[in-house]
């Protein structure tokens, strides 16, 4: 089994989840080397840029991984998303310079999501794809608006920008490739059950009992967030 871990913002907590679920994860000493692939406990751990996790899983180069909903949507990734994880949540917002200029240009790292957002509102605006520090585009009036992730809102406040509208609630998810799910069904279900037991111990949702992860048959669970299916109609 090959698992894709996103480098950066989510890496440590993603590994923490797998460690808590009883998996033998690469050690900190391992991670200090330049290696990107580690064999531990029968699992091949690969470390890739967060935006590439959906690509590896979609194409079956990794069986499963941890990816933010932002990257899942932007790549129109069709992998299963059996679990939302309970850390690293943030919001994707439409942000503007103060004084609410007319929406004519949007700078973003997420051109595909921005296009869907505009189409859904019937608004015509130009999209300017950027690689990072997207807020600057609004500050310097490169664009009228930006779409970006907001965690604490500090960046937006510092630059005296205004949050206008919620584009999507973003959470990291365990994603499982369709092909892996079909062909390594037992292994994948056990993986899901073990991670679920860590992330949602209170929950009986999809109570998978593989691998001895007995999940309590308690009260009906709360809805775990929008099961966004944007871009999930593609067949593979």
């Amino acid at each position: 089994m090959r698992l894709a871990i996103p480098k950066g913002r989510l890496q440590d907590r993603a590994l923490g989840v797998f460690a808590a679920a009883g998996f033998d994860v690469p050690s900190e000493a391992d991670l200090k080397t330049r290696k990107l692939v580690f064999q531990r406990g029968g699992i091949e751990w690969i470390f890739v840029k967060d935006c590439d996790v959906p690509v590896y899983v979609e194409h079956g180069a990794a069986d499963a991984g941890i990816a933010g909903l932002d990257q899942i949507l932007e790549h129109e990734c069709t992998a299963y998303q059996p679990l939302e994880l309970d850390f690293g949540r943030c919001r994707m917002m439409l942000i503007a310079a103060p004084g609410a200029p007319p929406l004519t240009k949007i700078a973003t790292k997420y051109p595909r999501i921005a296009r869907q957002f505009l189409d859904a509102r019937g608004v015509h605006a130009e999209i300017v794809p950027l690689g990072g520090s997207v807020e600057l585009a609004a500050v310097l009036e490169l664009t009228s608006h930006v779409i970006d992730l907001v965690e604490t809102g500090e960046t937006v406040r510092v630059h005296k920008l205004v949050m206008q509208e919620l584009v999507a609630e973003i959470s990291p998810r365990l994603i499982v490739g369709k092909s892996a799910y079909r062909r390594k069904s037992k292994q994948m279900r056990e993986l899901i059950a073990r991670v679920e037991a860590v992330c949602h111990p209170e929950r009986r949702e999809g109570a998978v009992r593989a691998g001895g992860a007995q999940i309590d048959d308690g009260a009906p669970p709360a809805h775990t967030g929008p099961a966004l299916t944007l871009g999930m109609t593609k067949e593979r």
Binding site: P82, S185, K186, R209, P220, A227, T229
Partner: protein, 290 residues
């Protein structure tokens, strides 16, 4: 000038060795089909869009190259053989000659609009049994697909399900579609089907669990499962695609080392072109065979 050294995305030329390799595989493949008494049909590379408009989902439509021909009609390059065969065959077939066992070969072009996929020209060979609604035809098609894998890539694994099982659940609650698409039983499921959906996602559901929702499909799946080796033919009751397309019954994927073919039963397709006939078939991507 920029186009001098490359091809449009997703297409390429096969030079000597690759062409010879494909031809060898094609010949062996056709041998197996002909031994199983399948006869060849040849279908055109472009066709009008209009006859297929109703039965093809808009997303699937976007996957094809379309353009206006010299008479001003919208035409598309072939992207799926199965509806084309139905359109060609429905007006021509006589009830007394059914069932027909047919195969076709050729390229299809699909433009995947995703960043992950690319436009692709795929050389395919497909086989269909037209005019036989029986479970025996299902079993024959599944076995033939497995035999074809054995001819090339060794050990086949065929994962199958019947689309009417999941659609009967979705008819009770649309939330089932979201739950099965994400493999997460969310809070919107009504109480009467929640346990079944959870069992499906957990991989614990049996045919008996879903039989109350789709009795005919369940009986059929039992007959199929009883006739085939469970190590090679694996029933995944939770297998589900958002886009069901024209499939009405069993639907399957054929694996060797990788995905090699897809297929299924489409009993409503021929009726749309004038003559009702049940049909089942599958299509292999020839370049994925070894």
């Amino acid at each position: 000038m920029a186009t001098k050294l490359r091809y449009p995305t997703g297409v390429r030329a096969l030079l000597v060795e690759e062409a010879a390799r494909r031809r060898r595989i094609e010949t062996r493949f056709i041998d197996v089909l002909e031994r199983a008494r399948f006869a060849e049909v040849v279908l055109p590379i472009i066709d009008y869009v209009e006859p297929y408009a109703e039965l093809v989902a808009p997303e699937a439509n976007r996957r094809s190259y379309r353009f206006v021909d010299r008479e001003g009609d919208l035409v598309a390059i072939r992207s799926d053989f199965t509806p084309m065969l139905a359109r060609a065959l429905a007006p021509a077939m006589r009830p007394d000659e059914l069932p027909l066992r047919l195969f076709y070969r050729g390229d299809v072009i699909r433009c995947e609009a995703s960043r992950l996929g690319t436009n692709r020209e795929l050389f395919q060979i497909g086989a269909e049994i037209v005019g036989d609604a029986s479970v025996d035809a299902d079993i024959e098609a599944l076995r033939l697909a497995a035999d074809l894998v054995r001819e090339f890539n060794g050990r086949p694994t065929i994962i199958y399900n019947d689309v009417s099982i999941v659609s009967s659940l979705i008819a009770r609650s649309p939330a089932v579609a979201g739950a099965l698409a994400s493999k997460r039983a969310n809070g919107e499921l009504p109480d009467d089907i929640r346990p079944t959906v959870k069992k499906l996602i957990a991989g614990e559901a049996t045919i008996d669990d879903v039989a109350p929702f789709a009795p005919e499909a369940a009986a059929r799946l039992k007959a199929i499962a009883g006739a085939l080796d469970p190590d090679e033919f694996v029933l995944h009751l939770d297998d589900f695609e958002e886009a069901v397309g024209y499939y009405t019954g069993i639907r399957f994927r054929v694996y060797g080392k990788n995905l090699l073919a897809r297929g299924g039963r489409y009993d409503g397709l021929y009726e749309r072109f004038g003559t009702a006939a049940p049909a089942i078939g599958f299509t292999f991507n020839v370049d994925d065979l070894e």
